[in-house]
Every structure is written in C-alpha cells, then in structure tokens.
C-alpha cells in the first residue's frame, strides 16, 4: 500500500513537472498570444492538478490535503476565468477585430 502510494506520488509529480515544462516551452515558442494562452491553461489545470494529486499522500493530515485540493480548485477557477478575460482582451486589441 505504501509503495503504491509512493509510486502514485512519483508518477503524478513527474507528470505535473512534464506539463510545467510543456507549458513553459509553449509559452516561449508559440508564435502568438492566443496559442501561448492555450499552452498556459494546460499548466493551470492539469499540471498543478497532478502535482497536488501526487502530494496528497505526503500530506500529514486530511485537513492539509483538503486545503491543497481547495488551492487547486481556486487556481482552476481563477485560471479559467482569467484566461477567458485575457483572450477577450486580445480579441479586442486586434487591429482588425
């Protein structure tokens, strides 16, 4: 059981790290603002989500685990809406619109 949890931690955190890497590369290499935004949202949702999932077994108390999930949900909520807002702003500022 303990080993299974450790494997879960390693796998999930590695996955999260990979998504962070992918997000950063996307942010740096994609050609325009909206595609970069696309890269960013993956990190917000899945990258942080996987890292939180991986860290849950290491949290000492259920309360702490709940707090970590709450933080992830908060980032989900704000990340999704802020990306939407930024996309609206980009759309507005486009020369042709």
């Amino acid at each position: 059981m303990k080993l299974a949890l450790q494997i879960l931690t390693v796998l999930a955190v590695s996955g999260g790290c990979f998504l962070f890497l992918a997000g950063t590369i996307g942010l740096l290499r994609f050609p325009d603002t909206t595609t970069r935004l696309h890269a960013l949202t993956k990190v917000d949702n899945l990258g942080l989500g996987l890292i939180v999932l991986g860290l849950l077994p290491t949290a000492g108390s259920p309360l702490l685990a709940l707090k970590m999930i709450a933080i992830w949900l908060l980032v989900q909520l704000s990340g999704a809406t802020v990306s939407q807002l930024i996309a609206q702003l980009v759309h507005e500022q486009e020369p042709r619109a």
Binding site: L74, L77, S78, T81, V82, Q84, L85, Q88
Partner: protein, 313 residues
Amino acid sequence: MSLPLALEISFAVVLLANAVWIVIAREVVAAVIIFVAYGLLLAIVWVRLAAPDVALTEAAIGGGVTGVLLLGAAARLRATEATAKPASVSTRLVAAAICVTTSCALAYVVGSLPDAAPTLAPAAMASLPETGLGNPVAGVLFVYRALDTLLEKAVLLLALVGVWSLAPDRLWGGTPELCAFPRRSSTLLLLAQLLPPVGILAGVYMFWVGAKLPGGAFQGGTILAAMWLLVVMTGLEDIPPTSRRWMRLLAIVGPAIFVVIGFAGFALANAFLAYPAGYAKPLIIVIEGTLTLSIAITLGLLAAGPPVRAQHQ
C-alpha cells in the same frame, strides 16, 4: 552542488534579472507587470528565509495590492510617458558608480556579519507563553513591540488622510474611482461573484490562525481589501463616498480600540499597552479582529486613491 543550493541560486538569478528589467523596461505598464511578478517571486524567497509571515504579507501587498495601485496610476499617466527626457550619460555614469559603491559596501557588511549572530529571539520567546499566543511574530507585533504596531496604524490613517487631501476642495468627501473605465463583461462578473466568498473565508482564516501559526491581521486584512477592490473593479459595486460615516468609523475602530486597551493597561497592569495577566490572549484577539477590518478598509481606500467625483446629494 547540492540540490537546495541550486534552488537558491536560481532564485537569486531570476530575482536579480527581474529587478534589472523593472529598471530598464521601456514602458511603465510593462515595468509594473514585472514588478508584480517580482513580488510573487519575493514571497517565495521569504519562505526560503524561514519567514512565512513576511512571505504572506509580501505576496498580498507586493504581488497584489501595490500592483493594482500602480497599474491604475500607470493607466492614468500613460499620456505623459513620451515627454520624459532620459538622464544624460554623465548622470548615468555617476549614478552607476554610486550604486555599485553602495552595493559593494552592503555586500561587505553582509560578508562580515559577526558569526555569533545577535538575536532577540529568546527575549521574544520568553514573553510568549504568558500571552497564550503560539506565533512568535504575532507576539512581537502585539506584545513585545506593540507600540510600533500602533504607530504603524497611525501612519496608515495619516496616509489615507493625506491621499484624500490631494483631491480639490469641491471633491472632498466625494467618491474615489479605481479604474477610469471599468470593464463590464460577464466573465469578470462571474469571477467577482465567485472569488470574494472564497477570499473572505481565506481572510478570516488568516486572521484567526495568526494567533497560533503564521498569518494575522495584516495578511487577513489585505485579503479582505483585495476582495473589496475586486468587486469594485468589476463594476459590481461602487466605492461609497469618502464622507460616509460608517466607513470612516470602520477605518479608525481598530486603532481606537488598540489605544483604549493600551491606556487601560495603565490602570490594570501599570504600563501603557500592558495586558492584565490571564486576559492577554482575548484582548489581543479583540485588537487583531478590529484591526483586520480597519486595515482592510484603509488599504482598499489607499489603493482607490483620492475622490474624483463630487458627492451626489
């Protein structure tokens, strides 16, 4: 090289790069955005320096509220950007020389700090048990150096009066305005309705946990202020005119109770700001609770700036 040291070195490099870019960035708004990122990063550095209380404050004020304040100012001053003349080469050279000298002197001081570092930690810890607090920083703020905290509240109120006084006479008591043109969009509205309940909960939690763990009135108050500003920014609710009595009362209630309890200390414990034995913790919680509200309203009003619209009757 051990992993943690690699971590610290990358932090230092990124932090310094940010600082340089804030100074050399071409546009003001860009510099302000980099400053926000810098504030968030600095919060992590404070965690690395084992100062979570400071990290919370820096994330809230450096990364959040200062950013809002400066973004607002930059939006209003956008028109003047082109008119400023850059400093001459000789000024730059002299300035660079002065700054390098200052930095080197400071670095030398850092390098030659005494090995047995002087510390007030034992003194601060010694007075902690009798107050019933578990957070040493809260102990310092409200027991060991309570006078400093009280005076700081006075500074905040003075700054608020100062900001309000910058309005022309006819606008005194009028309504401040956070954004020149609030943006009305359904997404923003959704966020303004969903985030404040979460934020208010986080703010109250931050205040409540502050007696025992890192957190406290400043951090909690700043979250509440940020949530208020969020609601204002999205146009859901206007800032009330600064002449509103309840708002002014709320701004001074925390410091006022602090002063009253301070003077009561003369009668009950023979010194200003001394707490009678056994009542320290409840009294500190009363002070912190009211201070949280006062800090929230004062920081929010400071970020909103002077009134720009006359009071409607």
